[in-house]
Amino acid sequence: MALAGTAAHAPEHVVHDKAKMKLVGLWLFFFSESVLFGLLLSARFYLERINREEVDQLLGLGITCVLLLSSVTAFTAETAIEHDRRKLAGWMLVVTILLGTGFACGVGFEWGTAHFSKEQAFGSIFFTMTGIHAAHVISGIGLLVLTWFQLARGRFSGKDHWPVSGTVMYWHFVDVVWVFFYPALYLVK
């Protein structure tokens, strides 16, 4: 009890590192989502081993490159806003949105021309995995559009750009998922 005086110079207000908390929260969210995608991936090998039906290889490689390229433009957008280059960031977000839309359309085309039915096990696997991934792509496009909209209204700067960083990280995460899904669905046999 005599210790009471020793703490007199303790801070009156505890300041929490809010930026770090958001960052870690987002990574935990990715961690949790990885389990979702990991379970789907495991289910794919559980049911069908490495077997697969005929898929359009050229289209697969094409949309993979498009998504990869969109990650690069998203990275450029984030780097640009970190260095206060709002105009470049805006354009890069637009390119990312267009590339993302291109990817989604590619998946849609693949769905329309697939040679296999969703009523067969491989079809169930293929449509579910690409479908859930595409749902993430589309929600990512939505986030990018909202972010671009606010950027265009002059909201972000080099010091205050968490929504841009968070959205771009989400976009990269969706790309990472495809890095695993693409070989598992197109290349493994």
Binding site: M1, A2, L3, A4, A7, A8, H9, A10, P11, E12, H13, V14, H16, D17, K20, M21, V24, G25, L28, F29, F31, S32, E33, V35, L36, L39, L40, A43, Y46, L47, E48, K118, E119, Q120, A121, F122, G123, S124, F127, T128, L146, F149, Q150, R153, R155
Partner: protein, 634 residues
């Protein structure tokens, strides 16, 4: 009337969203040349948009959604009781919202149990058809699972964790409010299942039945996927809160044991809940989109569902009991007036359970036809978990040993947790061992076992925690005499019901079936009567809570003379929890250690270090019962 605005807004926007979802899907389907209405697909789309409308209408739009469009956000600052009916971001309000909601769900689920026991008083059919019985059993199962997963974590966890670590709120307050506001649509949707024929699959929803059964299954699927989402987001919030929001000086080695338990629990919720969601998503796709995840004729495999489902649902057991262990150890230390015995081992045990929880799931599948070579590894891994669990027991017993027990109602519940879970643990050995499990699988022995662990372990801890925090939450003291009556009534009712239930199980009585062999009539009649006795005990609880909340005597700041931070602030605490932020110095459980101080409040003076133990028993305002004496539940 903010409360009315909020609830009416939630209902209105929810309904609008529901019909927009159905209408939008109908329009797209009609344009593509299909029927505009497809029962399950329409319900799914309507539900998704309905839930979004509900949370937005409840106040998320103003507090959060506007920000996404670069608009200025606002809060509904509702006064008094109305704050429980708005999108409130205060963790104390959210904790109470969770608790009250889930007590209601618990009572409804209990009612279902009473109906089941009424049917099972005698062999043959008494009250219900098979389909009705299945529906009641499924609802009882899933509602109680929901209570077990969310009442202690979402209710007590939300309320107590920021207080225990000396924080002003959770890390993401708006996310926290969202996790609560997703619960009412889940509960409503589950309660709607009887309208579409009732859940026929129980809460596990195994295919192929769950793919072939009536339309109620779709409501179950979407509701539980949403529930999983709240569990994941809640877990995420707890992990970040516990890492980043601790008061200065609150090192990992000084963290109250309940916070450690919540930390382990939150990781499990974050990492494994996806399994339940994925298994139900596959069922949903098989039903709605005609896929073949589980159709063996087209290359699917029903066993896949069991693997994915139990990958979550075994760890879910720890989402239920770890916070129960945590709060029980917490109360045992405070009411034994002794330092928590082997604190470090208790922490290690909690983390050990976290580590092992993901590698034991197939012990639920020994009779499912999975490959035999999996039996051995899963048997051994399951038995290994008894080591950390045993450590927690030793910590509890070592703390009680030679302590000056203050047998308040919460302490009685905490001791009962230890007793009940020991019984559940012993019967668990027979279910983890393949040779005995093959005989006991799917019998009432299993039912008795998991009620001993989940109800005996966690629900007892939940009620103990409610009594323990009642003065802090409401600023009033509950009636101690009624609390003790409730405890003994519930404890005796519970043990008679479920101890006797092992017997018909060993005799081969199947669970989940409305009928049984007539030579088990006597045993079942006794179980049913004891069950009704157990059910009636909750009337005492409800009366005590409602009466004391309105008319109870004012509670003081620290009626338990506990050292932890939650008791060093007012009852109920102010909005910012601690007007003067605490600075942590010593261990939270150093009862009787001379000169030890857990926390200081710079500027407020050192008024709070607990008085010497010799003054404690009589200091409680309510009829506190005698100190000392024999071990209650042990």
């Amino acid at each position: 009337m903010y409360a009315l605005k909020s609830v009416a807004g939630a209902l209105g926007a929810g309904l609008i969203g529901f019909y927009l979802g159905i209408g939008g899907l109908g329009a797209v389907r009609a344009l593509a040349g299909y029927d505009a209405w497809d029962t399950e697909m329409s319900i799914t789309f309507g539900y998704v948009f309905g839930v979004i409308g509900w949370v937005m209408g409840a106040g998320m739009w103003g507090a959060w959604g506007r920000e996404w469009f670069g608009l200025r956000t606002y809060d509904r600052k509702a006064p008094g009781w109305q704050r429980y009916f708005v999108f409130n971001t205060d963790h104390k309000v959210i904790g109470i919202q969770y608790l009250v909601t889930f007590i209601v769900v618990f009572l409804l689920g209990g009612l279902m149990a009473m109906l089941m026991r009424a049917e099972l008083t005698h062999s043959g059919h008494q009250l219900f058809s098979n389909a009705q019985y299945n529906s009641i059993m499924g609802l009882h199962g899933i509602m109680m699972i929901a209570v077990a997963v969310a009442a202690l974590v979402g209710g007590i966890g939300n309320y107590a964790v920021p207080l225990l670590i000396g924080a002003e709120d959770m890390a993401f307050p708006r996310l926290n409010a969202l996790t609560y506001w997703l619960i009412p649509p889940v509960a409503l949707t589950l309660l709607c299942t009887p309208l579409l024929g009732g859940i026929e699959t129980g809460w596990t929803a195994y295919p192929p039945l769950s793919v072939l059964t009536n339309n109620a299954q779709i409501l179950f699927d979407v509701a539980i996927i949403t529930f999983g989402l709240t569990s994941i987001l809640g877990g995420l919030n707890f992990v970040v809160t516990i890492i980043f929001m601790r008061a200065p000086g609150m090192t990992w080695g000084k963290l109250p044991i309940f916070v450690w338990a919540m930390f382990a629990t939150a990781w499990i919720a974050l990492l494994y809940t996806q399994g339940f969601a994925v298994s139900l998503l596959m069922v949903l796709l098989d039903r709605v989109a005609g896929m073949s995840w589980f159709d063996a004729a087209n290359g699917g495999d029903p066993l896949l569902d069991q693997h994915v489902f139990w990958f979550y649902s075994h760890p879910a057991v720890y989402v239920m009991v770890l916070p129960g262990f945590g709060i029980a150890l917490e109360m045992i230390s405070h009411f034994s007036r002794k330092p928590l015995f082997a604190y470090r081992y208790a922490v290690g045990a909690l983390l050990g359970i976290l580590g092992l929880s993901g590698v034991v799931w197939a012990h639920h599948m020994f009779t499912s036809g999975m490959p035999n070579y999996l039996h051995g590894p899963f048997l051994v891994a399951t038995e290994l978990i008894s080591i950390p669990t045993g450590l927690i027991f030793l910590c509890a017993l070592g703390t009680i040993w030679m302590g000056r027990l203050w047998l308040t109602t919460p302490m009685l519940f905490a001791l009962a947790v230890i007793f009940n879970f020991a019984c559940g643990g012993v019967t668990g050995i027979f279910l983890a061992d393949v040779p005995t499990d093959i005989h006991l699988q799917d019998s009432y022995f299993v039912v008795a076992h998991f009620h001993y662990t989940i109800m005996g372990g966690e629900i007892f801890a939940l009620f103990g925690a409610i009594y323990y925090y009642f003065p802090k939450m409401t600023g009033r003291q509950y009636n101690e005499r009624l609390g003790k009556i409730h405890f003994w009534w519930m404890f005796i009712g519970f043990n008679v019901t479920f101890f006797i239930m092992h017997w018909p199980g060993i005799q081969g009585m199947n669970r989940r079936i409305a009928d049984f062999m007539s030579d088990l009539n006597t045993a079942n009649l006794i179980v049913s009567l004891a069950g009704f006795f157990l059910g009636a005990s909750f009337l005492v609880f409800v009366f005590n809570m409602v009466w004391s909340w309105i008319f109870g005597p004012a509670a003081e700041r620290n009626p338990w003379r506990a050292r932890t931070l939650d008791w060093q602030t007012d009852s109920p605490p102010p909005l910012e929890n601690f007007p003067v932020p605490p600075v942590v110095r010593g261990h939270p459980y150093d009862y009787g250690v001379p000169g030890s101080v857990h926390a200081l409040f710079p500027g407020r003076g050192a008024e709070e270090p607990p008085r010497p133990p010799s003054t404690f028993p009589g200091a409680a305002p309510a009829p506190a019962g005698g100190g000392g004496g024999g071990g209650g539940g042990g």
